[in-house]
Structure formats: C-alpha cells, structure tokens
Symmetry: none
Subunit: 139 residues, 2 copies
Amino acid sequence: MAEKQLTLNLDVRSGLPIYTQIVNQIQSQLVNGILKPGDQLPTVRALAQELRVNFNTVARAYRILDEERIISTQQGRGTYITEIPPPEVSAKLRYESLAALTQRFINEAYRLGFSGREVSQMVRDNLKSMKDAAVNDSE
Amino acid sequence: MAEKQLTLNLDVRSGLPIYTQIVNQIQSQLVNGILKPGDQLPTVRALAQELRVNFNTVARAYRILDEERIISTQQGRGTYITEIPPPEVSAKLRYESLAALTQRFINEAYRLGFSGREVSQMVRDNLKSMKDAAVNDSE
DNA sequence: CCTTTTATTGTACTAATTGTATCATTGTAA
DNA sequence: TTACAATGATACAATTAGTACAATAAAAGG
C-alpha cells in the first residue's frame, strides 16, 4: 500500500485560495483520523493532476503544512504525515509565543466577523474533539 | 470552457453611471438565469476592454456586487457568481471557516508543546483583554 | 556487490494573470 | 466657481503557472 486516495473537494467560489483549501482539508482529515501519522501523501504532481491545478500550488500547500510540522516533505522521496510533533521550545519563550499565536488567531477570527463568544465556543469544541480522538487512538 | 461571453449593453444616455449599469445588468442576468452560481465572470480587464471602459470601473461594479455577496472576487484568480445560500447554509459555511481557523491555531499551539488547558486559558485571557480595551476605547 | 544511469520527487525562482488601493482628471450640478 | 461623483492612470499585492534544478531512490551494467 503506497498512499491513500486523499479525496479533496475544491470550491472556486469559496473565496479561499486553492492552496489554503488543500491545507485546511488535509489538516481536517488528520484531525478526523482519515489520515494518520506515517501516511504517505500523493506527490505534488499526482495530487495536482487529480485536482487539475498546477503542481506548485500543491507544493505551496505542502510547504505550509511542513512549516506547521504536520507533514514532512523530503525532496526525492515524498511527503508523509509527521510521526511525532517534536520541537523543543525554550521555556522562556513558550508563554510569549502562545500569546502571539493566540492574538493572531483571535484577530483573524474577529476580522472574519466572529464574536468572542463564538470563538471561545469553537476553541472548546475543538479541544474536546481532539481529546476524544486521542482517547480513541490509544485503544 | 472558461467563462461566458456576458454581453452587456451600456447606454451613455441613460444617465446611470457605467458601474451601476454593469451592476444592474449582472444582477438581472442572474435573476433571469443567464448567469448561474459558479459561473466565472470575465476579468476586470477583459470586460473593460470589451465595454471600452477603464478596468477600474468594472472593478468598482464587481466590488459592489461582491459586497452584496452576489459574486466572489478573488485577487489573482478571478470572479465567480456565488451561491445565494439559504441562511442555514451560510451559517454552516461560517461555522466551518471558523472551525478550520481554530483547528490550525490549536494544531500550531500543540506543535509548540502547549496543553489544551494552557490554550483555553490563553484564549480566555486574550478575549478578556480585548473586551477591556474596547470598553476603554468607548470612553 | 559496486558504480553509473535514469526516473521520481520536492525546491527555487520567475513570469503571467488577476483583483486592489490610491490618487489624478473630468464632467456636471449647485 | 466650487464641490462632488464618475472615471482613468498607475503602482501594487495575491495567486497560480512555467521552467530549470537538486536530492533521493531505483534500475541497469559491469
């Protein structure tokens, strides 16, 4: 078994760039367990052909996911879902980096017109579903 | 097949601004079924050339239609007729866009090694401080 | 086996296409 | 004339596409 089919649904009318849609859907499939750590993703060219987009558009999505450490792209080899989220961040910077990250997230949500109530509700739901998924994994 | 011909008839004697005529006629063609959700409109430059007007005039019309949610303009990509979704559908899209944003935020926080507790605490603090600032602003 | 060649895969850089922002110009009405 | 709305000119930013390249793996040849 090489790689999965990875069916993605692009929508030109969504207003979101194609590369963003690819990023979001791969992340979503990982959270939902459709994709699992170690899975090989299609090559940039294969996925591009399937989605009928330029392979650089897929490469851009993969690069974003790679920077988020969600996948690992390896020139000449392929692209895989990351096995373990590793990184060691110095303790002093932890708080600041989370604060900055949160600030960016909330600003973006506000820009999209969401209220604080909606944001906090969504954070709660999302954290809960991740915890549930983790429990299921350990069975 | 990329985009339709989109024949518009401008009338200088009508007294209506060009951009208004463009807006009206596109709206009319959508109502009459000549244009359908998902259709790609000509680029601002292409339509401008055809109508022999400045492309900013077309862009202005597109912007108005975009604000009315009739079309979706996407820099670097083009312009499309949007669905005219029933409220529950648009609510669903809204929900999903916040969900995707939140998922990315939480994934990133996890990647940096933060726990769910830390994340939700930080979100709470951040939302609270924004509210405090808003109160101060309104004085 | 070991080396060389070829194919496959991601990367880097650049170009082309598209909408956006800002300001200048024009025309018309008060 | 003056004020304002409409349109035009110019520069910019975002997205996607095109081309050439580098790293790795697989195949071929000895």
